[in-house]
């Protein structure tokens, strides 16, 4: 029973944590695309900074993935 609970916790945890990551990256992309539509000449800079911010948001979403992997491989 405990083994099954560990796997269940890992799956639920990783899945729920990625919701926040998805929403965060979507908001970032929305802001970047709106800026690009207003001012097409700064498209390159906006793209670079958007990818940088996506790396931060994805880092946070992957913290939960690390905990889930720890759960699966230690149980």
């Amino acid at each position: 029973m405990e083994l099954g609970l560990a796997y269940l916790g890992a799956g639920l945890g990783a899945g729920l944590a990625i919701i926040g990551g998805g929403i965060g990256i979507g908001l970032l992309a929305k802001g970047a695309l709106e800026g690009m539509a207003r001012q097409p000449e700064v498209m390159g800079q906006l793209r670079t900074n958007m990818i940088l911010a996506i790396a931060f948001v994805e880092g946070i979403a992957l913290f939960a993935l690390v905990i889930a992997i720890l759960l699966v491989f230690k149980a």
Binding site: I51, L52, A55, F56, E58, G59, L62, F63, L65, V66, I69, F73
Partner: protein, 287 residues
């Protein structure tokens, strides 16, 4: 790292011997470290390094150590001739006109202008060797991991932990050198606060000082590990289902994930270097 033919051979050999190798075992085999036990390195492992250093540290040469050596050798072989060429052209008073030098100079100048210069100002020439070394070492470690048959040396907590520990040591050392031995008590909290808020803020700031390199470590490790797990899982899908239709869908998926991993390799090296520079610079100036 996706040992395409290697996974095929492992699965086929295991099934022909009558035992079934679970997919999880093959995934774990490719993600963990293995001591090299063949050839000259295996001989060195068995004789010189068989006893633990100080009785605690196991110093045998494993696969990740060899990957890190490959990244270091790439760094040396690429950058020392470039430095010689630039210096030789600078003594003649002109800029080197070779395209190979220009390729690496673009990246070096980008890092210096975007990462080091806004944070350090006039001390750029003194600190840029360290940050450039960290950036190119992490970059080459990540890229070497994408070649089939090799594994990424930054995909474990030990290597990224060592890099983050370097950042932590730098932060504390620069704080002590710039602000004196009482820096820990007075330097990490912003100035001009009343006493009660000071007592509340100080433990928070101390924990945050130690948390910043830990977060750096986990970010780099998780990004590299997640990318490699996705690649391995896609290939294992083909072997588990043993049908051509799954392969038709999985191979484009693997190619797309591999391209994404290339982008993530560059971005994560850049983010690590940029955050290291920001943290060290924030400890250098008084708040």
């Amino acid at each position: 790292m996706y040992r395409f033919m290697g996974i095929f051979q492992t699965a086929i050999a295991a099934s022909s011997h009558g035992e079934s190798e679970k997919p999880g075992d093959v995934v774990v085999h490719h993600l963990t470290d293995h001591v090299i036990d063949w050839g000259l390195i295996g001989h060195i492992n068995d004789t010189f390094l068989s006893s633990k250093l100080f009785g605690v540290f196991d110093m045998r040469i494993t696969r990740w150590v060899v990957m890190m050596w490959i990244a270091v050798i790439l760094c040396l072989v690429i950058f020392i001739p470039i430095a010689i060429k630039i210096r030789r052209a600078a003594t003649r008073g002109e800029v080197s006109s070779s395209r190979w030098v220009a390729l690496w100079e673009v990246m070096i100048e980008y890092i210096k202008q975007e990462v080091i210069e806004p944070n350090f100002g006039d001390k750029t020439a003194k600190v840029s060797p360290y940050f450039l070394t960290v950036f190119f070492f992490i970059l080459f470690c990540n890229i070497v991991g994408l070649i089939p048959g090799m594994s990424s040396a930054t995909g474990n907590l030990a290597v990224t932990g060592a890099l983050a520990t370097l950042t932590l040591v730098e932060m504390i050392a620069i704080g002590f050198m710039k602000h004196g031995p009482l820096w820990i008590i007075t330097g990490i909290v912003p100035h001009g606060l009343p006493k009660p808020i000071y007592l509340v803020m100080w433990p928070i700031e101390l924990v945050s000082l130690f948390m910043k390199p830990v977060v750096l470590m986990i970010r780099l490790f998780a990004n590299m590990l997640a990318g490699h797990i996705m690649i391995i899982v896609f290939i294992m899908l083909i072997i588990m289902f043993e049908s051509f239709f799954v392969a038709m869908g999985a191979i484009p998926g693997v190619i797309f994930v591999d391209m994404l991993e290339l982008l993530v390799a560059f971005v994560q090296a850049y983010v690590f270097t940029m955050l290291s520079a920001i943290f060290v610079a924030s400890c250098m100036e008084s708040h």
